[in-house]
Amino acid sequence: MTEQTTRLVLPSHIEAVADAAAAATDFVQNCGLGEELAFGIDMAVREAVTNAIVHGNQEDEAKKVEVTFNCLEHALEIEVKDQGEGFDPSAVPDPTDPANILKTSGRGIFLMRTFMDEVDWLARPEGGTKVRLVKKF
């Protein structure tokens, strides 16, 4: 398979989440992946981009979110970069813990980890956070 890459630069408003998801759907199809993987990838991309826009860039229109899709030989790799103040994923409590079950937020990272094989965060030297999502096939 030929490796493919798509890169998006999105404004920091909520409507851009749907644009990222639409691009993910197209990329998953072009990458030859089936419907059973598409749902989870779509979900993970939505959550990562939502976090980047809302928590990372704080919906600051002056800041951008960059999404890169890479179709590798046996994996789909997605990177979402924001220009925010940084993020500590270990500080997010387990949303399935009975103490947190009725919280109205805090499930995005859990869903990303549920649907992807690898999820990791990196502080970018130039500022902001990069989340890397990998789905193997």
Binding site: R46, T50, T96, R107, F110, L111, T114
Partner: protein
């Protein structure tokens, strides 16, 4: 077309919301929140969400379901879910929210379980 269409009907003192579309951050979540708030303001506290037409929900939408549940309980009402799609059921299972929500396969079963 709106992201989430909500049609309201009454079954005795129970309000059924037939929902069609997506409950995601932005328009879909706001539509659900607005509908629940309006019903509570009108004193309609027993609410059945028919989710047969909802094929997609994100963490914001899940949060909105939880928010609806707690708001209705606070007012002494009940929220129940009807006709979860397979994907929605899976999501509520992995988030352990099926231990919180009452979910039913048939409307008759759901309606008969309101107290």
């Amino acid at each position: 077309m709106a992201e989430l269409n909500i049609r309201e009907r009454q079954a005795g003192d129970i309000t059924v919301l037939d929902m069609d579309g997506r409950i995601t951050i932005g328009e879909g979540s706001v539509a659900l929140r607005s509908a629940i708030r309006r019903l509570l303001e009108e004193g309609k506290k027993n609410i059945l969400l028919n989710l047969a037409g909802v094929g997609y929900i994100d963490s914001s939408g899940i949060g909105e379901l939880v928010s609806s549940y707690t708001a209705i309980n606070k007012e002494g009402g009940q929220l129940k879910l009807l006709s979860l799609t397979e994907k929605l059921r899976d999501l509520l299972t992995i988030t352990k929210l099926l231990t919180v929500f009452d979910a039913y396969e048939t409307e008759a079963d759901a309606l008969s379980n309101f107290k």
